[in-house]
């Protein structure tokens, strides 16, 4: 078992015992479900919209080279510097290079999961630069030195009391139980940062190939400010964010909002196509776009699972996943959690090290059912399991399945197996729950059903 796998198991055990945490997450997600269902019902044809979104993303990803080139060319024509990074290290170096060249003293950031993926903040801080997260949830977890808990709701696991304590400790603010006052405290602190920051770093939700623009979806306005005030703007995005045409956003922005937060549309949806253009009185003088591969091309090469790159990072699959709801976002131990994380992490970080994420699922399919772009998520988990077993089968597990096949295919052996099982049951009860119990994984928390005295096959044979 990889260390990641054993960490996952330990953490899962801890988190499933934390009933307070489980309740908190369930309450948060229950509210989300109600509004999401209302918004979906308002669509004239949600299934048709999903199918169109799936087809649009299919077109985008299966012609990715063409769209990326158009995207980059259009951006460059407006004075944007486009950088291509094959690895996270290269992306970090590119951004560090820009930051050093500008002799930046302070950097303001809006939400970017790709920046988490490449551990950008650590790299910048180690190089001596101040980085402040401007999204309220990200700002909160940054103060706690924690990664985001959920790709859309970074501070979902915290109560207002915990946030108040945090602000009192780190910002010297007066304790308060009001979410509004806590938000205003953060607003005041961050306002100063926007105005004095030399560099603004953003992510992107979409990359429109046709017109060479990135699209940023948010509610707070922090990305708008990050992109308006500093002299230099850097946007980091995965190469899979491509959408072919500008008007595709008319479909994707509502679907992202409905699936992500249960809103018909988020507060700010903004396209950025270049640095300040002639005639514009504000905006960054320099605009850099960093395109990140970081093994996405490997996932692209797996044609069976290529649609995992259609993901618009809405978080809906996390919200409906019963595993996520019971173990929480941190248990996964990696940037992308929930079903999408369980599908792509083995590709992006290594199959043998991360196959346990694909194994830790009951394959209920709620994720696939909810995905707005119809990614075949739960079947990809199965495919990852198959690929992992083929690459490096477990000797004992394969032996067990082979032995079972032998017994299952021979009625005589199957009969004997049942008889032996019936004989062994009273013995098993004696050691139930102890270390000796072979069924301990089950019996620790659940009773075992008794083997029937007369099995179905016995009954059937008798009456024939």
């Amino acid at each position: 078992m990889s260390t990641f796998a054993s960490q996952f198991t330990k953490q899962a055990q801890r988190m499933t015992r934390d009933l307070r945490h489980r309740r908190l997450i369930r309450t948060a997600l229950r509210n989300y479900e109600v509004v999401r269902d209302q918004r979906r019902a308002a669509f004239q044809d949600w299934p048709a919209a999903r199918q169109a979104a799936a087809e649009t993303k299919w077109e985008a990803i299966n012609h990715l080279d063409r769209h990326l080139v158009e995207f980059a060319d259009q951006l460059a024509a407006r004075g944007t510097k486009v950088h291509w990074a094959s690895t996270g290290t290269q992306a970090r170096d590119i951004i560090l290079g820009i930051v050093r060249e500008k002799k930046a003293r302070s950097i303001i950031k809006s939400k970017a999961m790709t920046s988490e993926e490449i551990h950008l903040n650590e790299a910048l801080e180690q190089a001596g630069f101040e980085v402040v997260e401007s999204d309220l949830g990200e700002f909160i977890v940054q103060l706690r030195h924690e990664p985001p808990y959920h790709i859309v709701f970074p501070a979902m696991h915290l109560t207002r009391g915990e946030i108040s304590e945090l602000f009192a400790r780190e910002l010297k603010s007066a304790p308060t139980n009001e979410p509004e006052e806590l938000t205003m405290i953060a607003r005041r602190v961050l306002r100063k940062k926007y105005i004095t920051a030399d560099i603004g770093i953003t992510g992107a939700n979409f990359a429109v190939a046709e017109t060479g623009m990135i699209s940023i979806t948010e509610n707070e306005g922090n990305a708008r400010l990050t992109a308006a005030l500093p002299k230099v703007m850097i946007s980091l995005l995965g190469i899979e964010k491509i959408l072919p045409r500008l008007e595709d956003l008319a479909l994707f922005l509502p679907m992202l909002a409905v699936s992500g937060t249960g809103q018909p549309l988020t507060c700010y949806n903004t396209l950025y196509g270049g640095p300040r253009q002639p005639g514009e009185a504000d905006g960054p003088e320099e605009f850099h776009v960093v395109l990140l591969d970081n093994r996405r091309t490997e996932l692209l090469a797996d044609a069976e699972q290529r649609d995992a790159l259609h993901c618009i990072r809405c978080g809906a699959c996390l919200n409906v996943c019963p595993i996520f709801r019971n173990v929480g976002g941190y248990t996964y131990g990696t940037t992308y959690s929930g079903p999408i994380g369980s599908v792509i992490t083995p590709h992006l970080r290594g199959l043998q090290d991360w196959k346990h994420l694909s194994a830790a699922s009951s394959l209920c399919g709620a994720c696939t059912e909810t995905c707005p772009v119809k990614i075949d998520l739960h079947h990809h988990l199965l495919q990852n399991r198959r690929n992992a077993a083929r690459q490096k089968p477990s000797f004992f597990e394969r032996l067990a399945h082979r032995a079972f096949a032998v017994i299952a295919n021979r009625p005589a052996l199957w009969s004997i197996g049942k008889k032996l099982g019936r004989l062994a049951q009273p013995l098993q009860r004696l050691i139930q729950g102890t270390v000796l119990d072979p069924a301990r994984a089950w019996t620790k928390t659940r009773d075992l059903p008794p083997l029937a005295k007369e099995s179905f096959k016995d009954w059937w044979r008798k009456r024939s």
């Binding site: 198991t9 899962a12 055990q13 499933t16 015992r17 489980r22 369930r26 019963p322 595993i323 709801r325 019971n326 173990v327 194994a359 830790a360 699922s361 009951s362 394959l363 209920c364 399919g365 709620a366 696939t368 059912e369 199965l382 990852n384 399991r385 198959r386 690929n387 992992a388 077993a389 083929r390 089968p393 597990e397 394969r398 399945h401 082979r402 079972f404 096949a405 017994i407 299952a408 295919n409 009625p411 199957w414 049942k418 994984a441 089950w442 928390t445 659940r446 009773d447 059903p449 008794p450 083997l451 029937a452 007369e454 099995s455 179905f456 096959k457 016995d458 009954w459 059937w460 044979r461």
Partner: protein, 238 residues
């Protein structure tokens, strides 16, 4: 017609009454039921674990025995999904590919068979109790089984159906998942059981006994009076 019954491994060994109920119901409807002895398992445990060669070793036997069956009925949503939805994938690019597709087209989960194939919802059953229905995930999302069990329960005399808020939420059994990730499996089961208890029902009914086995195991350990029962057993009561 002649109906071939596929009794999954755990139904045979642990819950034979459900299988017996299915036989009774189908014979009452005037059909001939046959049950090939040689099939014990659909091969899902190995399949879900990623050991597809080993799964095929079991599944190829199933295909051979069902080759000439006119119609196959299986007493489990998850095993039904395995044969109907996953056998074509499992046998893609193998000599059995065509046979797998054919068998997949002729197999039905029990409640789906009654309602959509036979067009029957009233079995003259009587079951005086308050029940809630658990939608097994494979039956629900792979086979589209949601209305069928409820249509059947609606015709059962003196039965009161109360839906639980988490009816469609996975109970956490998931086959080998229950043993490989017992803490998570148990937590999910707790959520399901709490939702069922909240309805005040006497029984949790489902078309998937593997799920019910997990839920009953938890309920017993909790000391709860809530019982679980397969849909077929409810429908067989008169």
């Amino acid at each position: 017609m002649t109906i071939t019954l596929f009794i999954p491994c755990f139904v045979d060994a642990l819950f034979p009454r459900a299988g017996i109920s299915v036989v009774q119901i189908l014979e009452r409807l005037g059909h001939k039921v046959v049950c090939p002895e040689e099939i014990a398992c659909c091969g899902q445990p190995a399949f879900n674990s990623g050991y597809w060669d080993e799964s095929r070793a079991v599944a190829v036997n199933v295909l051979a025995r069902l080759k000439d069956a006119e119609t196959v009925v299986i007493v489990s949503g998850s095993c039904g999904a395995m044969v109907k939805k996953f056998y074509p994938q499992l046998f893609a690019n193998t000599p059995q590919a065509e046979l797998a597709k054919q068998v997949s087209a002729r197999i039905w989960e029990f409640s789906d068979f009654l309602v959509t194939q036979l067009g029957v919802t009233d079995l003259g059953a009587r079951f005086p109790a308050k029940v809630t229905f658990h939608d097994g995930c494979h039956g629900l999302r792979e086979l589209g089984i949601k209305k069928q069990p409820r249509a059947l329960l609606a015709k059962v005399r003196d039965l009161q159906l109360v839906e639980m808020s988490e009816a469609e939420t996975c109970c956490g059994f998931g086959g080998t998942f229950a043993a490989k990730f017992p803490a998570i499996s148990t937590a999910m089961g707790e959520v399901k059981c709490a939702s069922a208890i909240e309805t005040g029902a006497d029984y949790i009914v489902s078309n998937d006994l593997s799920c019910l086995m997990h839920q009953q195991g938890l309920l017993n350990r909790q000391g709860s009076k809530l019982k679980t029962i397969h849909l077929a057993e409810v429908l067989a009561q008169q």
